[in-house]
Structures are given as C-alpha cells and as structure tokens.
Amino acid sequence: MYVAVKGGEAAITNAHRLLADRRRGDRTLPSITIEQVAEQLGLAVDRVMAEASLHDRSLAALAVRQSRGDLIEAIFLLRAYRTTLPRFGSSVPLDTATMQVERRVSATYKDLPGGQLLGPTFDYTHRLLDPSLLADEAVDEPASREAGGEEVMRVSDILAHEGLIEPDGDLPQDHEAGDLTREPMEFPMGRDLRLQALARGDEGFLLALGYSTQRGYGRNHPFVGEIRIGEVEVEMDIPELGFAVSLGRIRVTECQMVNQFKGSSKAPPQFTRGYGLVFGQSERKAMSMSLVDRALRAEELGEDITAPAQDEEFVISHSDNVQATGFVEHLKLPHYVDFQAELAMVRRMRADIEAARNGETEMKDAAE
C-alpha cells in the first residue's frame, strides 16, 4: 500500500535552529569573523575554493564558517552560490611564468635559475605540537633579504633545450577548451577537460590515487620538476574596450611532474610530464593532480591500462566530492516505500521457498 505523508516542518525548523546554536558554540567565547577564517585558516579556505571551482576568499571563508568547518559542506555551499551568477566571460590563460613567486622548489635540479625558494612551508618542521600557539604569543616578523631579481625559470624549459622532454601539451589548433560545467561529460575526454575535472577533484581521492601509482598500480616514475606557488594576474578581454585588462591577482599552485618513460610504439623514450594547477596554496593537491594527469595519459602514450588511476571513466566519474557526497548521503533520506516493497518481496521469496520445501516434504511423505 502507498500512503503519501507530509510532516516534519517543526522538526526541521528546530533542527536548523539547533544547528545555528551548535555552530555558535559557547557564547562566552568571541564569535569568529570571516576575516579571521580567511587569514588564520587560509589553507582550509584555499581548499574550499579549489574544490568548489570558485575563487573568492571571502565567500569561501563564509562557507567554512557556515559549515562549522565541514569542508565538503562548505564546497557544496560555494558551488550552489556560483550557479546564481551569470558568466561574463573567460580569462586570458594564466601565465604562470610571470608569477610573483612565493615558493618554488625543484627535486630535479639543485642549482637552477631563481634558486630553491622554500617560502611558507610545513616541510622541515618537526611536526611537534607547539604550545606557544596555546598562549597566543607574539609572532616574529618574517626575515627578509635583498631579492636578486633573477628570472625564476621554468624547469621544463631547462630540460626542453636538450630535447629530452616532451613539450607542453598542445591540442589541435582549432580545439576549443571544453567546459564540464556547460556540456555533459562524455568519455573518452580530452586532456583539457580532464584537467578541469582534476582541478576541482577531491584532494583526498586524488592523493590516494597518486599514492597508488607510486605503490605500483600504474607506476610512472615521477620526479617533481618544479612546484611553484604565488600570485598571477587574471586578465580578461573587455569587448567595450577592445583589449584585455587585468582584473586583479589570484594565488595558484603549479606542479610540473617529470616522468621517466621507456618509450612505446606511440612515443620515443623521453621524459613525459604530468601537470597540476590549483587555486590557492595547495601543493599536495597540485602534486596529486599531476600524478593522476600523467597516469590518465596511458592510452595517449601507448601504455597498458592496468590500474585504477589510469582508468579515465573511473577516476573522473568519482573525483567530484559534491557529487559523491550527494549520492552517498541521499541514502539517509526516507526510502520507506522502497523498503516496504523490498520487505514484501523478501517475504514472498521466503514463502515460495517454504512452500517448495513443504511440497518436497509432502512428496517425500507420500513416497514413503
């Protein structure tokens, strides 16, 4: 029997009121401001921007606060917000070579033009909890030293001189960059669409997949050619002006992974590359992205597809955490009717088995 029911309005209203109360927490403590979230939990804000695929530090900070620090919930909020805005256009592609660099390291060359710039990194910290942060002690101003003004050359350009590394990925001249927010996804997809999907993909999922390639599931012999973090100019063509102007700057993280490659029937032995580019400061994400980008090029480079990280449909279809959480979490919503139907079916199957068994017994009795 099917009975439509309604109800729960009061429960829902009160649940949301309770949520607001728990979010605020102890009223004797000062309330946290959006500026404080943006400044002091900046990397959480960066992650929300990257995976929401929307660069706006203030709105991302608001989302973090509103979601009580549940970052996937915050990403969901920001994604929902972006759907309310019209799109004015596309930017001129970012030029990461002209980045105002805040960190730049290479694992392949020790002495490279521009140097190894550690920047604000967790690397080489001892990973010991710091009691001084409990007491809110004053923090020293950063050290500074004359900047040489030396060009921070791309590592891929250094290797390119010898012809031992493949060039930057070029798609056919007339190829228009695909946009998965506008066109439904179809497999196989171009590298441009894959990178868009990976750039907004879940950091944990991509990290695990990148790790799996290192452990032998689609091994691709990676070296960090270069990681750079810093601000780049965003420029857009303004039809009213007839030329491109700067809209301001955003911080991005770029990773150039360099992969040794033995060669195949499709490509000669050389260094191949995986690419990662992410909003904000997030080198774990950029590195994972570049590992997975390289793994997903298996088909293009004539490698055997044997591992999950090389399976485009598997990786891209499951990398979006808003989609994933929607489908997993919907299981908690009312399925009363479905379940009643299942229950009826299991009862019927049981009854059929019982009936068959009784029938057998009767036949046996009869035979005896």
């Binding site: 004015f88 256009g89 506008r182 039809p239 009213e240 002006l241």
Partner: protein, 199 residues
C-alpha cells in the same frame, strides 16, 4: 569596440526583478501558445528593435547563448546593445545561434539552417524571435496542440509569407525543432514546436 552611445544606453533598471517578470511571461506564454502577453518594462532598446523583443533579449540571452541577427538588425546598434547588456556573443552561423532575432518584414526562406537540437538534447535548438506588424488584427489563424484546449484563434498581421509552410516542415522533426516568439511592439505570443497552425 562599441563606441556608439546607443549601445551603452538602456538596459533594465532593476535587472533581477524585471528579467524574472519577463521570464515568467515567456514561460506562461510557452505553456499557453498563442496567448498575447504585454511587456510593460522598457529596456531602452535601440531602433529598430521592439520593446518586447528588447526585453526578451535581455532576459534570455547571456554569455553562453550565441545570437544571430537578421540583416536589418545587424547593421544597426542592436548587436552592440545586446552584447553590452547581456554579454551574448553574435554569430553569423545560424546553426550556432541559440536565439535569432528577425526584424519586421525580413524574408524567411528556411528554418533549416537554424539548429533543431539533437535527439539527445532537443533543447539545444534555436529560438526565433520574429517581429511582425501586429498581433491584434490581420489574418486569422487557428492554433491547436499541447497547452490549448481544443483550438485558439489568433490574429497576426505581417507574418512572413513562407511562415506556414516552414512551420509545417518544422513539426515532423519533433522532439527536435525550433520554437518561435512573435513580437509586435510591446506585445508577443509564443509558438512552441508542438503547436499546429492552420490558416
């Protein structure tokens, strides 16, 4: 570069509410084909674009909807005006256009070059906004189909000559096919692809 001031003039004074109100009219108009809607909002569109057509352009067009204009519109400041206020790119290719605006009296030879959508995505078709002389008097037509109880009669003056023949060719494509909005000054009627028209 848009230098003429006509392109920069006009626009909705309250874009959210005005475009919502026009959108509602369009939705109701599509649901009730042939019912005449009256646009009160003045979008300040340049000549020769009509008031209804101007408001519809600002409501429906955006960065993702290439727009095709008939020759008369294309040589006026209509292109710059739509581009500036809605962000829509102009296209010369009928098949790329999501919206096409046709000025009053322009000859229509075929709908075939406009996009009829695909079997998987019939919504990716072109919507034609055609200006006619009037929607209150003129030749009488009988409409039938979804959204119409039995029949509805409409009076249209200045409908392009070949329209009925072209429309008859459009119907069998269903679910593909183009949709039409006829505008006359501040009034408009919608003719979705499912509507049958007889003279």
């Amino acid at each position: 570069m848009a230098t003429n001031t006509e392109a920069f003039s006009g626009g909705f004074s309250n874009p959210v509410f005005e475009s919502q109100s026009i959108f509602r009219m369009l939705m109701d108009g599509m649901a009730r084909p042939g019912t005449v809607r009256d646009v009160e909002h003045d979008a300040g569109q340049p000549e020769p674009l009509g008031q209804a057509a101007g408001a519809i352009a600002l409501t429906l067009c955006d960065h993702d909807t290439p727009v095709w204009l008939s020759a008369g519109y294309a040589k006026s400041s209509v292109a710059d005006w739509i581009g500036f206020h809605s962000g829509a790119p102009m296209t010369r290719e009928k098949a790329e256009a999501r919206f096409a605006f046709v000025e009053a009296g322009a000859a229509l030879s075929s709908f075939g070059l406009f996009s009829a959508g695909t079997q998987e995505y019939p919504d990716r078709s072109t919507t034609l906004v055609i200006e006619v002389a009037g929607l209150d008097e003129g030749q009488s037509f009988t409409l039938s189909g979804p959204g119409i109880l039995q029949t509805r009669s409409v009076e249209i003056s200045g409908l392009p000559e070949a329209f009925l023949r072209l429309w008859a060719d459009n119907r069998p494509l269903f679910p593909r096919g183009i949709d039409v909005i006829l505008t006359a000054g501040r009034r408009f009627i919608c003719l979705p692809r499912t509507t049958r028209i007889t003279a």
